[in-house]
């Protein structure tokens, strides 16, 4: 994804060291330039296409990264560490939003969260000519936060289950479970796009 970014003449580790030792903001600017695309893309996926929110969370991610650079122990790639912070930012935001919704949650919202409601709406959208990408984005929004995060890390960010476990801060088995359940929900929601249905 970051292939079109400037070729890294100086390795990330060296830039990080300059940030820590010399409070070097030029080095951090280079790090942000290198990784902003990947982090923003990850958050756009997690926020189900809400670009403004994703960019706000991406800014928070990099500010937090700057503040906590000293705690980065190089046990993972810097990009993976950034994904971890980004996911935590998004989860914190999602939690806050859920708490706000708890007070005035009505029946229609509850229906939207259920699998059945999502499935019926997809049929109608499909008939109206909605593209598969939009359907997938809406189906992703039906997943639980953990399921969506696991699928985004494993498929969109192309991380291994072990790396995804590091990002999500949970055991590898839990990641696999979230991925599996998420895919099952997606299959139900996107049944109209199944090969047997489309042929």
């Amino acid at each position: 994804m970051a292939a079109k970014a400037a070729a890294p003449d100086v390795p990330d580790a060296q830039l990080i060291a300059r940030c820590i030792v010399g409070d070097d903001r030029h080095a951090f600017t280079e790090l942000v330039k290198r990784h902003q695309s990947a982090v923003r893309a990850c958050l756009r996926k997690l926020t189900a296409g809400n670009h403004a929110l994703a960019d706000d969370l991406a800014q928070d991610t990099f500010v937090l990264a700057w503040r906590n650079l000293k705690s980065f122990r190089q046990e993972a790639r810097f990009s993976t560490w950034l994904y971890r912070i980004a996911t935590n930012c998004w989860l914190a935001h999602a939690r806050k939003r859920h708490e706000e919704l708890l007070g005035d949650r009505d029946d229609s919202v509850a229906e939207d969260d259920g699998d059945g409601g999502g499935e019926s709406s997809f049929g109608g959208d499909h008939a109206a000519g909605t593209t598969m990408k939009i359907d997938l984005e809406r189906a992703m929004a039906l997943l639980s936060d953990a399921e969506r995060a696991a699928i985004v890390q494993c498929y969109h960010n192309d991380l291994s289950h072990e790396e995804a476990a590091y990002v999500l801060g949970c055991p590898v088995g839990t990641v696999k479970t979230h991925v599996l359940r998420g895919k099952q929900k997606l299959k139900r929601a996107l049944a109209a796009w199944a090969p047997s249905a489309s042929t």
Binding site: M1, A2, A3, K4, A5, G22, D23, D24, R25, H26, F28, T29, V32, K33, Q36, S37, R40, A41, R44, K45, D55, A58, Q59, F62, V63, W66, R67, M132, K133, L136, I151, Y155, H156, D158, V172, G173, T174, K176, T177, L180, K183, Q184, L186, K187, L190, W193, A194, P195
Partner: protein, 123 residues
């Protein structure tokens, strides 16, 4: 849930492939580089300000050094007298030639510029 359980569940799910393909294709479609568009500049603006020394710190430190020097001179009058006398002998009472003075000025200038260059190298 254990790993083996996940594998078993996947084995019982033969139609999972098309979802995998769909997700991978979507990931590939969204892999385009997102242009910076001022994002980096906004992040750098939000960083906490660099650790600058408060304005009162420099005069306060100088005052402390002055107090320490006076206290040392008062507590060790003989030593202070010897140091002052030696300094006078070395600097004031000794006649310097013009070339020596010129050499000292050049040396001090080189040292100052070198120190400034090293200090500003990061910028």
């Amino acid at each position: 849930m254990t790993t083996s359980t996940n594998i078993d569940m996947q084995a019982r799910d033969p139609s999972a492939d098309w979802i995998d393909d769909l997700l991978l294709r979507d990931a590939h479609d969204h892999a385009d580089y997102i242009s910076d568009g001022g994002f980096t500049a906004r992040v750098i603006e939000q960083l906490p300000p660099a650790g600058v020394l408060p304005a009162w710190r420099r005069p306060f430190v100088m005052l402390l050094w002055a107090v320490a020097g006076v206290l040392l001179a008062v507590s060790l009058p003989g030593l202070a007298y010897d140091v002052a006398r030696t300094a006078y002998t070395l600097l004031a009472a000794r006649p310097f030639s013009l070339s020596t003075l010129g050499f000292m000025v050049v040396a001090i200038g080189v040292a100052t510029w070198t120190a400034a260059a090293v200090a500003l190298r990061r910028d």
